[in-house]
């Protein structure tokens, strides 16, 4: 599978994300707590530019919060700017519709260069 260089790690500090082009795809590349993630810049709802949204945490409730209303995933949630659908970037999971998962692209770091495998 082709690899595309999409920037240097120093250009993507923790807590930031960029939209890059990899072949004919637009991809959002995120640095979340020092780990790099890549997801499509395309919301599966109405095809909005998902990764031009802002990251934050979110409120959730379930077994993963020990059944307590909690503010979780701080800095790990991207919200689509079109209709506010939220996705957990590290897993690609849609918060509102867990059956929907974004494709996660493999990210390679090679001597400070970020490469995305698509």
């Amino acid at each position: 599978m082709p690899e595309y260089p999409v920037g240097r790690t120093r250009e993507l500090p923790e807590g930031s994300h960029h939209i890059v082009r990899a072949g004919n795809r637009e991809i959002g590349v995120f640095n979340i707590n020092g780990e790099f993630h890549a997801i499509p810049n395309l919301c599966p709802h109405q095809r909005g530019p998902l990764c031009s949204g802002a990251t934050s945490g979110t409120i959730d409730y379930g077994s993963h919060t020990d059944w307590k209303l909690s503010w979780i995933y701080d800095g790990e949630v991207i919200t689509c700017p079109w209709h506010s659908l939220e996705f957990h970037v590290p897993t690609g999971r849609c918060i509102a519709y867990p059956s929907i998962k974004l494709r996660k692209f493999k990210v390679l770091i090679d001597d400070g260069e970020i490469r995305v495998v698509v």
Binding site: R47, S52, A54, T55, S56, G57, I59, H83, S84
Partner: protein, 385 residues
């Protein structure tokens, strides 16, 4: 086949040719987009002493559809970080047109932002002047500058005689597409005889009236939404209940009978409730006709002549279900694409365009029905297509 037996509303299997029409090649009228008012600029068009009040309002920090003095809205949302970071206001005709062209929209009807809450302004004199200043500002700064943008003429329901006067002031001016009736918090509802002068003026000038609501908590039916705890609940109820309340009011006083030439549009309430209220009214009419003797026919027969903006269109798991809903209110001839751009719940035209309608019905919904309802000039290259 549809109700009139002229065209299938749903695409027939194997007959659809998605490659034939695209958003780019389709004439799209967006019947509901929103202009962000500039109180400071509006002050230049306002009479003394209301211009002074508008300049005071311009000094106040505003939030989304929440500007003290101009949009009296109680905001109950609990604030958390995050959410959409998209700008949800548009402040100039140039920007609006560029953004709408990005959505492949060919014509649009402009409704206000803050004045969505106009019916809740307590001083009727100020409400009238807000409407007048807005209309004058919109005409000069938006409609004249970009003629593909058409205006919804704002009237203050607090003073229907003043509203009728404003409608007649612009009689014959093709910059206006319709008269806008603010529904959020309005009292009495639009079936009341106090509004007859507005309907008379609308018929006289040939302008349709369009009712448009907005989410708000307010002590008038059906806006006593403080019983809900979340915006999710309030917003779910606010728009469709406001429309149903006003529709029922207009049917019980027989507005369509008393003003048979009045064209009526319903904006920003989605579509799935329309068959419900038609059938509910018909059921009540059956037993209680003597209370509404002006009606010459069952209520749904009148409502089938009204027009409905599509936004925020419901998104059932089975997309074909929405086509069935459209069939129940003759959406093939009465539904008009609306985006609600640039608001939080806008619909991209691609979604409505991509629903499994037949190509003719899709063309009607995306632009043809609106062109007929608003009597829009259609470019010859499109009219001849």
């Amino acid at each position: 086949m549809d109700r009139k037996g002229t065209q299938p509303i749903a695409a027939e299997r194997g007959t659809q040719s998605p490659a034939r029409a695209t958003l780019e090649t389709t004439f799209i009228v967006d019947v509901d987009v929103h202009v962000h008012e500039n109180p400071s600029e509006m002050a230049e068009y306002a009479a003394d002493p209301w211009d002074v009040a508008l300049r005071e309002i311009a000094k106040v920090d505003e939030r989304y559809l929440d500007l003290p003095g101009m949009s009296p809205r109680a905001e109950y949302r609990v604030p958390f970080p995050g959410g959409s970071n998209r700008p949800q206001i548009v402040t100039s005709a140039k920007t609006m047109w560029a953004e709408l062209r990005g959505l492949h929209v060919d014509r649009a009807v402009l409704f206000p932002d803050h004045l969505l809450l106009l019916a809740m302004v307590r001083d009727p004199r100020f409400a009238v002047e807000l409407a007048r200043a807005y209309n004058a500002w919109l005409h000069e700064r938006w409609l004249t500058e970009q003629p593909t943008l058409k205006g919804a003429l704002v009237i203050a329901p607090q003073d229907p005689l003043a509203g009728a006067e404003d409608i007649r002031r612009y009689a014959g001016d093709r910059a206006w597409a319709c008269v806008y009736l603010p529904a959020s918090g309005v009292r009495p509802l639009y079936g009341h005889h106090v509004y007859d002068p507005i309907y008379e003026a609308a018929v006289e000038t040939g302008l349709p009236v369009c009712i448009h609501s907005v989410e708000a908590v307010y002590p008038t039916f059906p806006f006593q939404l403080e019983v809900f705890q979340t915006s999710m609940a309030q917003h779910c109820i606010a728009h469709p209940f406001a429309m149903m309340a006003n529709i029922v009011s207009m049917i019980e006083t027989a507005v369509p009978v008393r003003f048979p030439e009045l064209k009526i549009g319903i904006m920003e309430a989605g579509v799935t409730w329309i068959p419900f209220i038609m059938n509910r009214l018909d059921k009540e009419y059956l037993e209680r006709r003597r209370e509404v003797p002006l009606l010459q026919d069952r209520p749904s027969h009148y409502l089938r002549e009204w027009y409905f903006g599509t936004q925020p269109i419901e998104e059932p798991e089975r997309r074909g279900d929405i086509v069935k809903i459209f069939d129940l209110f003759d959406g093939a001839h009465r539904a008009m694409f609306a985006s609600d751009w640039p608001h939080h719940d806008f619909d991209h035209p691609q979604y409505v365009f991509g629903l499994p309608f037949s190509s003719e019905v899709r063309s009607n919904i995306m632009g043809g029905n609106a062109a007929r309802f608003f009597d829009l000039d259609i470019p010859s290259e499109i009219a001849g297509a």
